[in-house]
Amino acid sequence: MNRREFAKLMGVSAVALSGIPLGITRAAGQTKGGTLNTIIQPEPPILVTALNQQQPTLTLGGKIYESLLRYSPDLKPMPGIAQSWEVSPDGLTYTFKLFPGITFHDGKPLTSEDVVFSMTKMLPETHARARAIYSRIDKAETPDPLTVIFKMKAPFAPFLTALDCTTGPIVPKHIYDGSDFRKNPANAQAIGSGPFKLKEWVKGSHVHLVRHEGYYRKDEPYLDEVIYRIIPDAASRSLALEQGKIQLTQWNDIEFYDVARLSKLPNYEMTTKGYEYFAPHQWLELNNRVKPMDDKRFRQAIAHALDLKSMAQRVYFGMPKIATGPVSSKTRFYEKDVKRYDYSLEKAKALLDEMGLKPGADGKRVTLKYLIPPYGEVYQRAGEFIRQTLGRVGIDIQLENTDVGGWADKFSNWDYEMTGNLVYQYGDPALGVSRTYISSNIKKGILFSNTAGYSNPEVDKLFDEAASATDDTRRQELYSKVQKILVEDVPVIWMFEAAYPTFIDKRLKNVTSTGVGVHESFSSVSFG
């Protein structure tokens, strides 16, 4: 007896329980139609990505809002709503040509005016990351409805890497201009120009997106609907995948300990691709203001004492790649030729002895507190592993637990000794790496700033110069140099290039074909 027969027995109509009709038709190479069921967790507060940049908001909002450019897995710019672009030789003027016929979900056309409004008015007001980048625009011009010209105050090479859908979502000017952005009643409708528009959002249950009929790309989107289900429990999410109720998972939907088991399911492909643009870099953050962590030798000793290889295996089930320095190997200008800290308890002990940190009668040299990041069970396990492994060289770790509010409060106000941190790199060191190490970004109360309190004038100078240099060879030179200095100083202990298991139904095409992966618009995603 299956569910339908059981339902009949119980006197419940089986119509409602039959599987979701896929209604697929074949057309021109890719299959048209179908419903993609996936997960969103935790539930986003709103869907307007210009106003809220929490990860689930960006994942879901990427289907609703588009930006000027998209990016390939190796972070080369590709057409977004801009079909072509040009940069002047002095690196000051950027000209974008938009695709013709783009419309918002309310039917109004998207023009160069909307782009300029979004990037120079609304986003600099509401989006912290966009503010830092787009406030460098000096003047914006709209010679015609399909042409946008940005003149920069000074050359800023990563500008062309900062036009993805999470940084530069284009919003309708006719809805937001002159209004209080955060209180605009239209926020509930989330009107964008993306391939999917909001049909229904039942809080606590699901978000239902349907195709935007007026989408400008021929034949796209292929899917009829995307349904994001809110499933808060990790075990229930794994179960939903096993039962085939969903065709896609992303980010932390599936816990690491379930990956090996679920990878055996015949209908899914497991990949860690599609996060290249974000390249989340994971490290052990050391408050450089607290003794003995102010001493470079102590930090180097920790780098030698942490057995990252076995941590990757035991805590993260072999998923992540071990990080070699501040820049992810997926980000532009990565330098692999840096000092390596091999796992060696002897070298660690020698460094600690050299500092005069001798073990006491109980074998402990120093006791430090580790504030466990509140982002899931795996962080708890990571904390326990760090305690174990550092204990072997006499560094005694006490674990502290908290929730997101408590962690953010303590960490950003420097009221911590050690904690874990995970920071996105956004394709370019000037966008996602320098912020952790430059002295001008030591800002109390601000998360993801230079919270460790590391300060080195030479590093400041190199990062500064590299951000404004327009020649890639010169930029590589500067970034290579700064990476070597940082690895010698180890202001934080880089651990992993975080990997996330994305389970994709084998019938699905093009889910992780770009560097923005699951945040992408899904306009080209199809069932076969």
Binding site: A7, V12, L17, A132, R182, K203, S236, L239
Partner: protein
């Protein structure tokens, strides 16, 4: 069922007085609870602005200042508290800037799902608990009593999330009889009758899981209460005057044994409104418990305070209901004594 008609004027007056007294107490209790909630909620470290920053991967001074101004967090605590109490008195639950919705609409949206789940589970637990407990009580010492005791102890000791997952594994994964999560099938056009049936199917597993623990409590309680009453003199009298066993159980034992159950059930009914968060999480049931839990993690103060307030009002109302039920079951409990 009462002899109220003897002095109906005095009786009405007594009831009115009792109600007025009760109302004053009600308002006072609600205000104290509201103040207490406010202090508790703000005592947790961090604020909504920091949480949003913590989950956005980027932050700056302007963002924090904007968000704090929006939430009214830039004002001193006493003023925030005064503003909040003013809203409570005017029955305004406030506005969630985080979700850009009024708190009342957020609660109203979630309340039906929670009430459906908890009321079903509660009724199920109460009815089966009374029946099973009575059965065990009148057969004390026999094998059926031992079996019921063991089963109820096992249920009581089982973590509710584990029980929920095991039921899912059996009925959804192995047998494929019931849906594993959610409250309704999404994306399928349905008539309202089909929809009700569909929701009913989704309701079975979470309701049974939630009922299990309470069922165990009521069974145990009812058993001991029945045993207690069975040894009272009036039962012996009833037996002596030749009443049938069934009639003794229903008319005499049950009615007297019910009082402790009503007390405990009254207290637990309040907890059921907010206490279903684990089951709501396991079964992705869109109820109030998860709204509270999310609001707590996000430091969404208006939602948190709003839900706490609504829950405390419900608990107080349920206590009143319990008092009323006492009077129905046991005429010796007077209006005055109950108020």
């Amino acid at each position: 069922m009462t002899s109220a008609s003897i002095n109906s004027g005095g009786r009405v007056f007594a009831v009115a007085l009792a109600l007025a007294g009760w109302f004053v107490k009600f308002v006072a209790v609600v205000l104290v609870i509201a103040t207490f909630n406010f202090i508790l909620v703000h005592a947790a470290p961090g604020d909504p602005a920091q949480v949003i920053a913590g989950q956005s991967g980027a932050s700056d001074e302007k963002l924090l200042a904007q968000l704090r101004a929006e939430y009214g967090l830039d004002k001193p605590y006493p003023i925030q508290l005064a503003n909040y109490l003013k809203r409570v008195v005017t029955l305004d639950l406030g506005y969630s800037y985080r979700q850009q919705r009024t708190v009342a609409s957020l609660i109203l949206e979630r309340l039906p799902a929670t009430l459906l789940l908890t009321a079903t589970a509660f009724t199920l637990a109460l009815l089966s608990g009374i029946i099973l407990g009575t059965l065990a009580g009148v057969r004390a010492g026999k094998w059926s009593d031992t079996l019921l005791t063991i089963v109820s102890l096992l249920l009581y000791a089982t973590p509710v999330f584990w029980l929920g997952l095991m039921l899912v594994l059996l009925f959804s994964v192995q047998l494929d009889w019931l849906p594993a999560f959610g409250y309704v099938t999404i994306g399928v056009p349905m008539t309202s009758l089909q929809r009700m049936g569909d929701i009913g199917m989704h309701l079975i597993l979470p309701a049974v899981s939630l009922a299990a623990v309470y069922l165990a409590i009521y069974t145990r309680l009812m058993r001991s209460s029945v045993l207690d009453v069975t040894h009272q003199d009036f039962i012996k009298t009833a037996k002596a005057k030749g009443l049938k066993q069934g009639r003794i159980i229903i008319r005499h034992i049950l009615r007297n044994a019910m009082l402790p159950i009503v007390t405990v059930a009254g207290m637990q009914a309040g907890a059921l409104v907010g206490g279903a968060v684990v089951i709501e999480t396991v079964f992705a049931w869109p109820g109030l418990g998860r709204l509270i839990y999310d609001a707590l993690l996000q430091r969404d103060y208006p939602v948190l305070l709003g839900v706490f307030l609504v829950m405390s009002v419900i608990v107080i109302a349920l206590n009143l209901l319990t008092d009323t039920i006492y009077r129905v079951i046991d005429p010796r409990v007077s209006v005055r004594a109950a108020s």
